[in-house]
Amino acid sequence: MARIIVVTSGKGGVGKTTTSAAIAMGLAKKGHKTAVIDFDVGLRNLDLVLGCERRVVYDFVNVINNEANLNQALIKDKRCNQLYILPASQTRDKDALTKEGVGKVLEELSKTFKYIVCDSPAGIERGANLAMYFADDAFVVTNPEVSSVRDSDRMLGILSSKSKRAELGEDPIKEYLLLSRYDPKRVKLGAMLSVEDVQDILSLHLLGVIPESQSVLSASNAGEPIILDETSDAGQAYADIVDRYLGEDKPHRFIDEEKKGLFGRLFRS
């Protein structure tokens, strides 16, 4: 059986799609057969971030409507043969998703895949609800600012009450916190919530902190998941997150400001 991971947040623009692409690629590179599904029907993005937008023929909604089978719609990643992408439809809206349809697709994927990453749309409406409904694990992506934290808290409430696991009275969804766009410098100045502040409000297991990084934007624009950029701190942060999720015990990084060396201090502009 596959493990279904939902990447969710409530708020938009916090880095769900970037995270979905990075996590899925990270798991696949570890040798686990992974599928990543774009639930943002009508606002398709995941294919861009993963650089496969030119190869989309059929999409998630086609599969739900039995207009195509799963193998026709799944796009195999060119960089990693364990990663498959199921793109969203750009010409439909979220109402095209049905609980039965999504359940059927996930069940079929579960037969052959080890991990299924569901990239949730923003909001708490149909698309987001269906993305999290069948999940086993939830990666809650939060930015260190109050509105994002509040929205994540709301999403956590929905995860614990409206999921399939909650409805059937099974073990609850395992919830993990991913704090993205973190800038220790601004935290120090008091302009941004600290890891402790966010942890205090959400009381959630921290899976990792992703530092604010210029390389994320350029990686997204180039269609390269940031995790493939091993020199960038954000890429390393995602690699750590994948390792931690798979059970490795790694110390948290990128929480404190990097100490500048002698040269750094001398040549500081």
Binding site: R150, D151, D153, R154, L156, G157, I158, S160, S161, K162, A166, P172, D200, I201, S203
Partner: protein, 245 residues
């Protein structure tokens, strides 16, 4: 022409059907001995005659587990005691026949909650109907040990004990007392049915709003000496007192 003598024309509606939800007492029967029931019922009525006299009453026969019962005699006895049975739920088909003969409607017996079992904790999103009519003299308290998240709403009949935080934007309500062993950042309303003796206890007050029996205070009006401290909140002559503990 005065309105009350105005004839109703054929086209204007003389009535309309609406669905309504009311809470009525339910009598869960544990015995078929009518003398015993009558005696104990009268004792109860004596304790709060204003509440019970002429009150409507639903008879729940399901705890009897199909034992024989003379329904006609029981209904008579209850009427003589001053209460008004208005329906029956649970019981056997022959008891249902008796109820029909007595012109008493038969209600579906789903979700009948016995007073001895605590209702399962329901974490709900606000759009849902949260209350199930239950009448019993002792109501178990509800214990919740998971965080109450923004947007969630909890309503319980008795006391509410939360061994976790209540997030900003969440709402917890109890007809009795509320205990929160964690940060209270949302809203807490105790004694929502008017119980002025209800209290709120919380180990870290950062609430948006606290209320006891309708007397409330919002975050802005909280005293700084109470903020982020363990407090007890209660009513004293209609005044909401927040005391550090």
């Amino acid at each position: 022409m005065s309105t009350d003598s105005q004839p109703i024309s054929a086209s204007s509606p003389a009535f309309e059907f609406k669905s309504g939800v009311i809470t009525i007492p339910v009598l869960n029967l544990f015995s078929t001995d009518i003398n015993v029931i009558t005696h104990q019922l009268r004792e109860k009525i004596k304790q709060a005659p204003e509440f019970f006299t002429n009150s409507s009453l639903l008879l729940d026969l399901s705890p009897l587990q199909d034992q024989e019962l003379n329904l006609a005699l029981l209904v008579d006895a209850i009427r003589n005691s001053g209460m008004r049975p208005i329906g029956v739920r649970g019981g056997t088909t022959s008891q249902h026949q008796d109820a029909k003969d007595l012109m008493l409607p038969i209600m579906t017996s789903q979700n009948s909650i016995s007073s001895k079992q605590a209702a399962p904790v329901k974490v709900e999103i606000p759009t849902q109907e949260s209350s199930e009519p239950v009448a019993s003299t002792t109501i178990a308290s509800t214990v919740i040990n998971q965080p109450i998240r923004s947007g969630q709403r909890i309503y319980v009949k008795g006391d509410l004990i939360i061994i976790a935080q209540v997030s900003a934007g969440a709402e917890v309500m109890a007809e009795g007392n509320i205990h929160i062993y964690g940060s209270l950042r949302g809203r807490a309303l105790a004694g929502v049915q008017g119980d002025e003796s209800a209290q709120i206890f919380c180990s870290d007050l950062q609430a948006e709003l606290v209320s006891v029996a309708g007397n409330y205070r919002i975050s802005e009006d909280l005293d700084d000496s109470n903020r982020k401290t363990p407090v007890q909140i209660y009513l004293n002559d209609q005044a909401l007192i927040i005391k550090n503990i």
